[in-house]
């Protein structure tokens, strides 16, 4: 069932044009995600207003906008953690995000990990929650983000940057086809952020889709196929990027 409320119009919101990147290759024919007139209300506050966008596989989409523009809400809707108040969201050619959640990786501001466990224990725990999926090993995942798998300290003793990396390792663990990253470069030094961009470039080349939000647009520029901007919950621009990686 699609998430839709056809009998409840939202007259004060303007319908935006569908924003779609040109699909030039055959393997891009099935959309990775489609948002159609998506609005999200929290009480009387509209966090998203009539957002309509198609996301193609193997692309990196960078979502920019000031605080409160609705970036995190959009990611949480794509992740299936929030349901839209109006409109429909489908992923992987027609599935509800909740039904395809094993194929989606979501990293938020918070590390989404237990402070009392080591990075390896955390990852081993989350790996066990994906039965039947070909996951990376915790050690592989930690090495990918540049962390030492042998580090035997509780996560609570890690620096913010190391926690951020471990959080990314958790997301990469299940080898998701759609990667949703909320401010992945925050708390990171420039060198670590550059390494993360290189890692994400490799991920995108595996025909996987990335949607990331950031205030540091220049940081994500080397992998940005498309940059879209939100303002007060409305999608106001959708421009091609100039990826170099």
């Amino acid at each position: 069932m699609l998430l839709t409320h056809p009998t409840r119009p939202l007259p004060q919101l303007q319908q935006t044009d569908r924003m779609t990147a040109p699909a030039s290759e055959a393997d891009r024919s099935v959309l990775c995600a489609r948002l159609d007139g998506v609005s999200k209300l929290f009480g009387s506050f509209a966090a998203l207003r009539q957002v309509t966008v198609d996301l193609e596989p193997g692309r990196c989409y960078v979502l920019i906008g000031e605080n409160g523009a609705g970036k995190s809400t959009l990611l949480r809707i794509l992740a299936g953690l929030l349901r839209p108040s109006f409109g429909t969201v489908t992923v992987f050619g027609g599935l509800e995000p909740h039904d395809a959640r094993a194929r989606i990786g979501y990293m938020s501001h918070a590390p989404m990990l237990y402070d009392e466990l080591t990075a390896e224990e955390n990852l081993r725990y989350f790996r066990s929650l994906y039965p039947g999926r070909a996951c990376l090993s915790p050690a592989e995942s930690l090495r990918q983000v540049g962390l030492d798998p042998e580090l035997n300290r509780p996560l609570g003793q890690y620096s913010q940057g190391m926690r951020q990396r471990t959080s990314l390792a958790r997301v990469l663990l299940s080898v998701p086809e759609l990667l949703l990253l909320d401010e992945p470069f925050s708390n990171m030094d420039i060198e670590s952020a550059r390494q993360m961009v290189e890692l994400l470039a490799g991920f995108r080349q595996g025909n996987r889709t990335i949607v990331l939000t950031t205030h540091q647009r220049e940081m994500a520029a080397p992998i940005a196929d498309w940059v879209f901007a939100l303002h007060a919950g409305r999608l106001i621009s959708f421009e091609p990027g100039r990826p170099t990686l």
Partner: protein, 222 residues
Amino acid sequence: MPRALWTHLVKDLRIELRSLDAFVSMLFFSLLVVVLFSIAFDPHGDFSREIAGGVLSVATMFASVSALNQAWAREIRHQVIDAQRMAPTPGAELFLAKVIANFLFVSVVQVILAPFFLIFYNLHIEGQAWLLALVLPLGTWALVGNGIFFAALSIRSRNRELLLSLILFPIFIPALLAMVRATTSILTGDGDPTLWIKLLLGYDIIFTTASLLLFDVVFHAE
């Protein structure tokens, strides 16, 4: 045992063994209740046996609530619960693992509490003592099962600690009554506790089944 259930359970036990947060707070709180009641009532003889069941149940209840209030704290703190919601495993397994883990914590506290209880209340059990090994686990399961469920229900509330007590205590009353009556009957040797034990068993089956069926809805709520 399903693999995810085992994974959740091992994780909860490992974290508690490292921090001992819930265990220590429960132990001290229940010891405090037992000691304070013994000072207040100066119990001995028949009077001691008559109130002991109630004191033990109330001590367990208040001690458990201090742990149940924190049952989902680690999941909320760094949004771990969102990562668990994104995983393709049933939420009911997470719920059941948390119930089992907290049931074990409370049971260990009860075992440690038992000798103090016998000493402070000068207890000599007149009935079939082995029946306590049925009554206490059944009563504890009722308390912990409901507590974990309602703690999850009140996660998004600002007054979640108050809300938990307000919802949990009224719903727990039938089980509390059965636990107190059965314990008193065993301690005094008066009457047959079987009916109360059956009531506890029925209560556990009904509420555990309902919680398992409803937990996914609560877990995936926005």
